[in-house]
């Protein structure tokens, strides 16, 4: 087991708090919908808590995993689940979605020091019933 696989295992157990204990608070987080880099402590906690809450049947299946030199790990995962609550501004329509993603971890001294996630947000939106980028929610007009 690596620190990255432990992180994923915690999320599969729907324990976002445990997953975040493996992370450096100041570690850089990149998520497609953020637009700008965040931190693992703030945006990371917010996102992964929202993920496990909005998708109670969340399943993260690792398709490929590589442990590179210089503390880099790359996990290519499939993230799936049925939406049960509003999620990052996307109103709940109880849709099932599964999206292939790539998570690039930087690690050091047994901790996650950075996480860059890559996925196609349009695929996520389509699966969750959204048709236009400028109309993500019914009640809000906020774009991602």
């Amino acid at each position: 087991m690596t620190i990255a696989t432990e992180f994923i295992r915690a999320l599969n157990a729907h324990d976002a708090a445990l997953a975040m204990t493996y992370c450096d608070a100041d570690g850089e987080l990149l998520l497609p919908h953020l637009g700008e880099p965040g931190t693992l402590a703030i945006e990371g906690t917010e996102y992964f808590e929202a993920l496990v809450t909005a998708f109670p049947d969340l399943r993260i299946r690792t398709r490929h995993h590589c442990k590179m030199h210089d503390g880099v790990e790359v996990a290519e995962v499939n993230v799936s689940g049925t939406q049960a609550a509003d999620f990052i501004g996307i109103i709940n329509q109880e849709k099932f979605c599964d999206v292939d993603q790539a998570w690039r971890f930087t690690t050091g001294d047994g901790r996650i020091t950075g996480l860059h996630c890559f996925w196609d947000q349009t695929m996520l939106l389509r699966r969750l019933g959204v048709k236009r980028l400028d109309n993500i929610t019914i009640t809000q007009g906020a774009a991602l």
Binding site: L30, P32, H33, H64, C66, K67, M68, H69, D70, G71, V72, V74, E76, D100, Q101, A102, R104, T106, T107, G108, D109, T113, H116, F118, W119, D120, Q121, T122, M123, L125, R126, V130, K131, R132, L133, D134, A143, L144
Partner: protein, 157 residues
């Protein structure tokens, strides 16, 4: 971050992948393909063009769908370029690359109508380089929502 000594296998793999992005920056599709095996696998995970008769996905062989996508992308964005921000390799020929790719649109590309806008989009590529120092698999990830927003296209699809 802990620095670890790389191996000759990792160094050779990163050299081939660097050459791949050099060729891509030169917009030389044949040179890109020459760095790959004859049967190399290609999977641009987010790529999907919905046509009237069928949907074209970005999964197949480098010398088939890969070549077609690269050629049509360069044709639509004739100043297409890239900037590698990180590259990491293991001892099994796997190489992960964070790279920005972008350019100014001059023609329609798939369902994307010609807008004259430009984009600059972060990607993650995962390559596998075989024992003969040839690329035998490429997988890539990016966010189409970011791309569409930069190009002014609102429909999700």
């Amino acid at each position: 971050m802990t620095a670890t000594a790389t191996t000759s296998r990792a160094d050779a793999a990163t050299a081939i992948v660097s050459a791949f992005f050099d060729a891509y920056r030169a917009r030389d599709v044949e040179a890109m393909i020459d760095l790959c095996t004859d049967n190399a696998d290609f999977d641009y995970i987010p790529f999907e063009v919905v046509g009237k008769q069928r949907t074209v996905r970005g999964k197949g062989k480098i010398r088939g769908v890969g070549k077609a996508i690269w050629a049509s992308l360069i044709d639509a964005f004739p100043d297409l370029t890239n900037e590698v921000s990180s590259m990491a390799a293991d001892d099994d020929g796997n190489v992960a690359v964070e790279v920005h790719i972008g350019g100014k649109q001059a023609k329609s590309f798939g369902a994307l109508p010609q807008t004259g806008d430009s984009y600059w989009l972060p990607h993650l590529f995962v390559f596998h380089v075989d024992d003969d120092c040839l690329i035998d698999a490429i997988r890539a990830y990016w966010d189409n929502a970011n791309w569409y927003r930069q190009m002014g296209w609102k429909e999700v699809g």
